[in-house]
C-alpha cells in the first residue's frame, strides 16, 4: 500500500507536492489559533476539505483508479468556500448579494455540467473532467479578487497590505486561478481514462501554482496577529 504511494509520489512529485503542502497553512492556522478569525476559519475548513479530497485522489491515483469524480464534486464546494471569504471582506451590500446569488447559480451550473459531461454517472471508470465548471469557477474567483483589490485601493482601509493575511490569500488564489483558467477546459479533453492526451508542461502549471498559492497562504497566516488583525 505504502509502496504504491511512494512510487506515485516519486513518479509525480509536482502533482504530489501540493497535497502535502496543504498541511503547512493548516498547521499554521492551528498553531496561531488563526481560526478565531472568521475569514481564516473558512480558509481552514477549505484547506482541510482540500487536503481530504487530495489525499483520496492521491490514493486512487496510486492504485491507478479514476479519481475525476472527486475533482468534479470538489469544484462547487471549493468555489463556495473560497468566495465565502470575500463575502466577509466586501463592505458593499450589492457585492455581497451578487456573491450570494452566484452560489446557487454556480452549484446548479456545475451539476448540469457534471451530468452533461458524464451522462452515465455510475460509470466511475470512464468519468470525465467537467467541461465548463473549472473555467467558470476560475473566472468568478478572478472577478471577486479583482473586485476586492479595487475596493482595497479605493477605500485605503488596510494600512499595510503585506501584514494583512487576506492579501496573501488573495494573491495565492489569483496566481492559482490565473494559471488554471486556460488549462481547465483542456483537461476535459486531455484527462480521459482511455484516450489520455499528453499536454506536457501545461499539465504541471496548475500544480506548481497550487504549491505557490499554498506557500502564499502560509505567509499570510504567519502575518496573523490576534489583536492587531486589521479587520
Amino acid at each position: 500500500m505504502l509502496e504504491n504511494y511512494f512510487s506515485y509520489i516519486i513518479r509525480q512529485p509536482v502533482i504530489s507536492t501540493p497535497v502535502f503542502l496543504n498541511l503547512l497553512p493548516i498547521l499554521l492556522i492551528w498553531r496561531k489559533r488563526a481560526y478565531n478569525d472568521k475569514l481564516l476559519l473558512i480558509l481552514f475548513v477549505y484547506l482541510i476539505l482540500k487536503l481530504g479530497v487530495d489525499l483520496v485522489m492521491l490514493d486512487l491515483a496510486s492504485q491507478r483508479k479514476n479519481n475525476v469524480i472527486y475533482y468534479n464534486a470538489s469544484i462547487p464546494v471549493r468555489y463556495i468556500l473560497t468566495s465565502w471569504m470575500y463575502y466577509y471582506e466586501f463592505d458593499s451590500k450589492l457585492h455581497r448579494r451578487w456573491l450570494l446569488a452566484s452560489w446557487p447559480l454556480f452549484l446548479a451550473f456545475s451539476l448540469w455540467d457534471s451530468f452533461h459531461t458524464n451522462p452515465s454517472m455510475s460509470d466511475l471508470n470512464n468519468h470525465n473532467v467537467v467541461l465548463y465548471s473549472g473555467t467558470i469557477e476560475s473566472l468568478l474567483i478572478l472577478f471577486w479578487i479583482m473586485l476586492y483589490f479595487y475596493n482595497t485601493i479605493r477605500t485605503l482601509k488596510i494600512p499595510n497590505l503585506l501584514a494583512y493575511p487576506f492579501f496573501w490569500v488573495c494573491s495565492g488564489l489569483l496566481l492559482y486561478y490565473s494559471s488554471f483558467v486556460f488549462i481547465a477546459p483542456v483537461l476535459h479533453y486531455a484527462a480521459k481514462w482511455d484516450q489520455w492526451m499528453d499536454i506536457g508542461t501545461l499539465d504541471y502549471i496548475p500544480y506548481v501554482f497550487e504549491s505557490v498559492s499554498l506557500i502564499l497562504f502560509s505567509i499570510g497566516i504567519a502575518q496573523y496577529r490576534d489583536k492587531s488583525y486589521a479587520k
Binding site: F149, I153, L156, L161, L175, S178, S179, V181, F182, I183
Partner: protein, 287 residues
Amino acid sequence: MQSNDELKLVLLIASIAMLMMAFFVITFVMYYQKKRFEEEKKISDIEKNYNRLLLDTALNSEETERRRIAQDLHDDIGTMLSLTKLSLNQLSKLVGNSGDEKEESIMKKSQSLVEETILHVRRITRDLVPTTLERFGLMEAIEEFIHKLEEDNNLVIAFQSNTEEFPRQGQKLELTLYRIMQELVNNAIKHASCTKIDIVLEIDEEMIGLRVTDNGVGFDPEKIKESNLAGLGLLGIESRLAIVNGTVQYEQPAKGGSSAIARIPVNPASGNKPEPLHPFRRERVNI
C-alpha cells in the same frame, strides 16, 4: 500532431500571459496602495500644518488684540481718569474752603470712586498683558498671578518648581504655559469648587511639565469630550499646545479632585534678551 503542439504552445503562452498579468496586478495593488497612503499622509500633513498656522495666527491676533485693548485702557481711559482725579483734587480744595459738609462728603466719595476705577483699570490692563512674564519670566509671573488670586479669593494656592532659577524659554512657549496655567486655575475656581490648588512647574533636559491639581469635585475629561461639553477652555488649551508640540493629560487623583499635566518640549530663549512687553508701546506682538 502539429495542431496539438500548436494548441499546447498557444495554451502555454496564454497561461504565461495570464500569470504575468496576475503578478502585475499584485505588484500594482501593493505599489498603488503604498503610493496613495503616502499621498494621503502628505495631504494630511499639509492640512495639519495649515490648521496649525491658522491657529497660530488666531492666537497671535488674540494677543495683539489684548495688547491693543490694554494700551487703549492705559493710554486713553487711564490718562483721562488721572486727569479726572487731578480735577477732583482741585475741586475738593474749593469745596473744602466753602465748609459745606454734604458737598465735602460727595466730593470724597467721588474721589474714592475714581481711585477705585483707576485701580480696576490697572488690574485689567495687567491681566490682559502679562508684563511680568516677559520681564522676569514664568516663575515670577505665576507667583504674581497666585498672589493676586489669593487676595481676591478664599483659596490656598501652592506653587512648586524643581529649579530655583527657571531658565528663560522662547516667548511663545512661556506665554503658552502661562495662559494654560491661567486657564486651568480659572477652571478649578469656576467649576471645581475647590479650596486648594497646587501648581507644579518642572523642567528637565527635554521637557517642561506644568501640573495643576485641585481638591474640588473633579471631572472625567473623556465624558466631557464625548458629550461635546468641552468648553472653549479645554479646547483652547489643546489648541495652544498643538502649536508648540505639547500634550495635555487629565487625571483623577485617588484622593479626589482633578489634575492636569501639560508637557511641552524645551525651547530655550535665543541669546537676545526678550524685549519687555509693555502696554505703553504700540506694536504688534510676535509670539
